[in-house]
Amino acid sequence: MSEYVLEMTDVCKAFPGVKALDHAQLKLRPGKVHALMGENGAGKSTLMKCMFGIYKMDEGQIKLDGQPVTINDPMDALHKGIAMVHQELQPIPARTVGENIFLGRYPMKKALGLIPIIDHKKMYADTAELLKKVRMNFDPKQKVGELSVSQMQSVEIAKAVSANCRVLILDEPTSSLTANEVEALFRIIADLKAEGVAIVYISHKMDEILRIGDDITIMRDGQYIGTWPASEMTTDSIITKMVGRELTNLYPPKNNVPGEVVFEVKDFTSINPRSFRNISFQLRKGEILGVGGLVGAQRTELMEGLFGIRSHSKGQIFYKGKEMHINRPKDAIDQGVAMLTEDRRGSGIMGVLSVADNISISSLNQYLDYGVSINSKKVESLVQDNVKKMNIKTPSSKTQIKSLSGGNQQKVLLGRWLANNPDVFIMDEPTRGIDVGAKYEIYCIIEEMAREGKSIIMISSEMSELIGMSDRIMVMCDGRVTGFIDGKDATQENIMALATQFE
């Protein structure tokens, strides 16, 4: 018996214009959590997709229990006991939780002892069982489209667990979960570890890695840098190995000075009675207002309401004393508001379009010649400016955005909104899926915007980010604002106290 359940060695994979993997390596021990780390575009997801049979590797070897194997496709991977939760979720929104979990392997029974039909009763009973196992309690018959992003994530995890796997790949599983749900996930991971499952855990969150990781493998530019026991590593040593240089600060010094109130929301209420209601708050010029709360606090819904993505039944929005009428995003944008949405795939990227098209779509008016014709040189320089400013890794501006790594897609979307030079910028989880180095760059951009007198609203589920960046924090619970905390006085405890006020 080999010490490892699964070994990948000397894996190479090239895409047009990029060498995504260059002799990468990963060795998994049974019953251990193996953290895979690296910057955005380092090749983590690609390596996992090779293991799961989504991509064919150009070179390299996979050994399962010491025996060389080839993995042809995801079905094959599942048969060999490898399951994966993807970084970008791909559920079927119009079908139920149960159907999503058992897609392609529905439990069957014989009608009249002859005709094979789907055994719905068993399917939903099994689903309920699985959901209990992953400590989630929602209705197996609910449509997946009605779930929040984090609940969808749980469904995906349940789906992976249901495959009775020996190797489980979790690609940024916590990027859309809040503290409670992360705890729930960690309990599931502990259960699986006890059963001897080897877990690959990809995340940009250091505290998680140091808490649950047993081994850490670090990659840079598609290359294998090394593997270390987690106990020997610190945040700093990980970052240094990932980035290839030392990073001293996690947050930039804040020099912005909040001025007079410019943006004001009064009694804003959703048309959905269970969503946000009676929300009033003010935002100052040059202020960074953090928005904290648990999943289900309706923070995203509120912001999407303000931006015209969702409807409201009453309430007013003022900018510099003048009322704004916003019925659709275009109205908000025309009045100087921007919003980086939470669901990158659903409402962010236009997958088959190029990086250039994606980055320029909301600011096309700026690149016109004679008022009609788009000047592609101006668009190109927009792309290049952003590529430089945020270190976006893309082979060219014509590359389809869907082939960029998750973090790099996020940077392109940020660039899309920055191009508009908005007065009020709403960001819903702006650093989701972004590596430590790039995070710092983004914080700098946020701070700089505030210093220039722009106002920023930042929803974040990452406590340290909320505390590190905000001038003031608005906390929500169950659709209502439960309080404001000054940035200097904010602690994990007082935020949590407000976030759980009605529970």
């Binding site: 993505i309 995003p329 659903g346 236009m350 779509i361 014509k398």
Partner: protein
């Protein structure tokens, strides 16, 4: 970054390479050309050109709908409607079989404008049904195509229409040059002008970018500030105008029209687009691609005709090509994933 700009020729070559059907048909054309004497003749070439020209206009119209993940099944019937209206209004004043005896003989330029406006109205209706009533384009245009056909039958009395003013037919069927049978039909220039115009719109204007954005991800487009409603209405309305132009030209080209004219053209146009790389999953499609697709489909028809294939079998072969082309398109999409 350093990647060179692709020239039109390279792009055409890439489309041919990326699409085995196009390659196959080109080979078939060469083989047939050597088997049959008249295949490589200027007359045949001119014929192919003017057939392609009209079909290309229709395909350009429907391409916007396809790129935004919609479709327009009313294209063919709209062509028929325009042909009927243009036919009736362009009849000679002294023609005995004249349908609207009470009307004065009309200037054909004025008729063109009338037909355009009517086409615009049909397109607007389609666009409004799709965006405001939220009826899926497939169903919406399935409904309107029946309505339009009905109206064409009513106003034409289900009769064939002939007796056009001479200027109408001669102008549209005009051609440049006649050296050893070599000539270029005017229709070719019409098609070229619209080809360039559409290339410009698709690549250089906000409307074009918005169209691709909607096809790529409609929710994201809306969130990015694209007015998806007006863009979609604009696309269906433009399509209506293109069908009207095609109908107007087609009636003159054939020297007569009837309500059934243009029947099935929507499918040919969709097929042409798809063969030319317009993706049925949205967001992808280029004007040169559409041109190649339509050209190849017309070429297929002429090849079959030259081979003396029973015309009824033509439908079978054409259908097979459509299915094959779309399945290959989907295959490409899956392979990339």
């Amino acid at each position: 970054m350093e990647k060179k700009q692709e020239t039109a020729a390279q792009k055409a070559l890439r489309i041919v390479k990326g699409n085995p059907i196009v390659l196959l048909l080109l080979i078939a054309a060469i083989v047939v050309g050597f088997m049959k004497d008249n295949f490589f003749s200027w007359a045949n070439f001119g014929n192919l050109m003017s057939n392609t020209a009209v079909r290309f206009l229709i395909a350009l119209g429907v391409s916007g709908c396809l790129i935004t993940k919609g479709t327009d099944l009313s294209a063919g019937r709209q062509v028929g409607f325009a042909a009927v209206v243009a036919g009736i209004l362009c009849q000679r004043g002294d023609y005995t079989g004249r349908l609207w005896k009470w009307a004065p003989e009309m200037n054909i330029g004025l008729v063109f404008l009338i037909v355009l406006v009517l086409g615009l109205i049909w397109g607007l209706i389609n666009g409004l049904i799709v965006t405001k009533l939220h009826v899926p384009p497939f169903i919406a245009t399935l409904g309107t195509q029946t309505i339009i056909y009905g109206i064409s039958l009513v106003i034409s009395d289900a009769q064939p229409i002939g007796g056009f003013q001479k200027i109408y037919t001669t102008l549209i069927n005009g051609r440049i040059g006649s050296v050893k049978g070599f000539h270029l039909p005017y229709l070719l220039f019409v098609a070229a002008v619209f080809g360039l115009l559409f290339w410009f719109i698709y690549n250089k204007t906000r409307h074009g970018k918005y169209m691709y954005a909607i096809g790529g991800n409609e929710v994201a487009a809306e969130v990015s500030g694209v007015n998806t409603t007006s863009t979609l209405i604009g696309i269906y309305a433009t399509a209506g105008v293109m069908y009207a132009i095609a109908g107007y030209l087609l009636a003159a080209k054939s020297g007569g029209s009837s309500a059934s004219m243009g029947q099935g053209y929507e499918l040919e146009a969709i097929a042409g687009c798809t063969i030319g790389g317009v993706s049925t999953t949205g967001g992808i499609g280029t004007v040169p691609g559409i041109l190649v697709g339509v050209l190849v489909f017309e070429l297929l028809k002429i090849i079959l005709q030259f081979l003396g294939v029973n015309p009824y079998y033509n439908y079978v072969v054409q259908g097979l090509v459509i299915v094959l082309a779309v399945s290959l398109d989907i295959r490409k999409y899956i392979a990339k994933k």
